[in-house]
């Protein structure tokens, strides 16, 4: 596992504070990104405070992510180390359901 640090909320009534955790190892199709900037969306607040329901804690908000690739898995074709990269709201969707297949 890969050591990471973050600002997280531990409950719906908690303020954001420092938190250490682990990211998964870089798999064959994975990339590792050193995050440089992350935007703050109003929905981060809704999620952190469980205003839409279904929030899980501890939670690290943030879905406007830009950074630089520091490691790529063996099967990665789109990126190489040093490339700039962005991650938005969609991660780990199934690729199989009607929503995924519609892009």
């Amino acid at each position: 596992m890969i050591a990471a640090k973050a600002y997280a909320v531990q409950s719906a009534t908690d303020k954001l504070g420092e938190w250490s955790f682990e990211r998964r190892e870089v798999g064959p199709s994975d990339v590792q990104i050193e995050i440089l900037y992350c935007g703050v969306c109003h929905s981060d607040i809704h999620q952190a405070r469980n205003e839409w329901g279904g929030s899980k804690y501890p939670m690290v908000p943030g879905h406007e992510i830009v950074g630089r690739i520091t490691k790529v898995g063996a099967d990665v074709t789109k990126f190489k180390e040093g490339d700039l990269a962005g991650i938005g709201c969609l991660v780990d969707s199934c690729h199989e359901c009607v929503n995924c297949k519609n892009g």
Binding site: K5, R23, C41, V60, E64, A85, G88
Partner: protein
């Protein structure tokens, strides 16, 4: 990916994810201004593209925050005539600086009257409760009201105001990954980024308070070097 561990987000120094969920980012743009494109950008770009908003269209942007300011930039780049509708008269200068052609203070009944039936599209970025019926009446025949804001309570409006003029009420949720890449490429080509206030990580709780007061032009972005 084990379907058990929650995905932790971006207020963090590093992240590991499958490459298919990662977009390419141009070296040409300011990175801090690119970050909000991944949500505020695609959320406004996607419906404007879906409805083919462009030259010859009159589009109103309702609300001038993180989403609204991106809607103005995209719609102007697509060639539409853009009007910002706001309850704050003091936002006119900001709207025009972003490229808007017109500004309407929606608290001024006289100004509203002038724009009755005027618009082809309204992109509605407001996430507080507001009067949909009043805005439908600003749409012309077949006019389209596109919701991208999420008010906390069920929406109420006059069916007559929607049906008269065959108006359309629709909504849009973010945008898919291929379209997100298309949007980032479009931004690189046209020099479009979000207007941001860069903050230190430790300022985040204060930033939340200010977001709730709409006190930001137009997006906070955390400099992760400060974590």
């Amino acid at each position: 990916m084990d379907k058990v561990t929650p995905t932790y987000g971006g207020y963090s120094n590093r992240i590991v994810t499958t490459e298919s969920f990662v977009c390419k980012v141009s070296e040409k743009l300011s990175l801090e201004g690119v970050a909000p494109l991944l949500c505020a950008g695609i959320t406004t770009y996607s419906p404007l593209r879906k409805w083919k908003v462009g030259k010859g269209h009159k589009l109103a942007v309702l609300g001038l925050g993180g989403l609204g300011h991106m809607a103005v930039k995209f719609a102007v780049a697509f060639g539409a005539e853009v009007t910002v509708l706001s309850t704050s008269a003091n936002k006119e200068d900001d709207a025009r600086k972003l490229g808007a052609h017109n500004f309407v203070n929606t608290k001024d009944a006289e100004q509203l009257k002038k724009y009755a039936g005027y618009f082809d599209f309204i992109i509605d970025t407001v996430s507080a409760e507001h009067d949909y019926t009043m805005y439908f009446r600003l749409l012309g025949i077949n006019g389209v009201h596109i919701c991208v804001g999420l008010p906390p309570t069920p929406i109420q409006f006059s069916g007559f105001a929607l049906m008269g003029g065959n108006r359309v009420l629709t909504a849009s949720s973010i945008g898919g990954l291929p379209e997100t890449q298309e949007m980032l490429d479009f931004c690189a080509e046209h020099g479009i980024v979000s207007d941001v206030e860069v903050i230190d990580m430790a300022y985040i709780n204060d930033a939340y308070d200010r977001i709730l007061k709409s006190d930001v032009k137009y997006r906070f972005v955390i400099d992760m070097a400060t974590l």
